[in-house]
Amino acid sequence: MNRIQVRYFASIREALGTGSERIETSAATVAALRAQLIDRSPAHAQALAHGKAVRSSLDQRMVADEATAALHDGAEVAFFPPVTGG
């Protein structure tokens, strides 16, 4: 089991009512973690739904492919909508 710090930003943070949570998970990738989070609550299911514009980062680097982004103990994963800075 890996201990993961999960962080949420912007509309996803608002929808879940929290900016972060600590999770113990058997998920091996960011994609698997997202699937587990979707099962956590109706709010999670809505905010992180597949097909929605959700982007993610692993250890504070943008994830290009959630299916191959491998988790490790102590990893920090974030889920957020497309970025809109500048």
Binding site: R7, F9, A10, S11, A53, R55, S57, Q60, R61, M62, A64, A78, F80, P81, P82, V83, T84, G85, G86
Partner: protein, 157 residues
């Protein structure tokens, strides 16, 4: 040593930043700057205020990496990026990108490259106040297309 990247709530002074960026390098022959500001309209709606959220730590690291990439791609001498966060109003400055080089071409290009990169790869989110309430700003496909011109796939919007 002046930091290359600042994320701050305070406003910035364009001429002071340019002064600092070019002060120590006598090889600088060109300075190109871009300043982004808050508009009072977006997507057909009046905007009365804006709140900018970011991902502390990742934001700075992402922009540092972009500046490293700009140094690899262009013959530039220095770069400075300031991005404001928190509460902003129409007319306020949001972002500064300043680049120095020996000749103008490289700093023009690097400045645009850095802005295109920042728009789709730096973790910032804008929330606007409109007469119909607050709304999160949608990412634009055109911003992904802008980065694609540099041979980088954005996959943001």
């Amino acid at each position: 040593m002046q930091p290359r990247v600042s994320i701050q709530t305070e406003d910035f002074d364009l001429s002071a930043e340019v002064q600092r960026l070019r002060a120590t390098d006598k090889g600088v022959g060109a300075v190109c700057t871009f300043v982004g500001t808050v508009r009072d309209r977006n997507d057909g709606q009046p905007v009365s205020a804006m709140e900018l959220e970011h991902y502390p730590g990742m934001t700075e690291a992402a922009i540092e990496a972009m500046i490293d990439e700009a140094h690899r791609r262009f013959d530039i001498l220095g770069a400075r990026v300031i991005h404001r966060v928190g509460a902003l109003q129409p007319l306020d400055q949001i972002v500064l990108v300043a680049v120095t080089s020996a000749h103008r071409g490289q700093s023009f290009q690097a400045c645009e490259f850095l802005m295109d990169y920042l728009k789709t790869q730096a973790p910032f989110w804008k929330k606007e106040q409109t007469p119909e309430g607050a709304r999160w700003v949608d990412a634009r496909v055109s911003d992904d297309a802008a980065l694609a011109r540099w041979g980088i796939e954005a996959r943001n919007a």
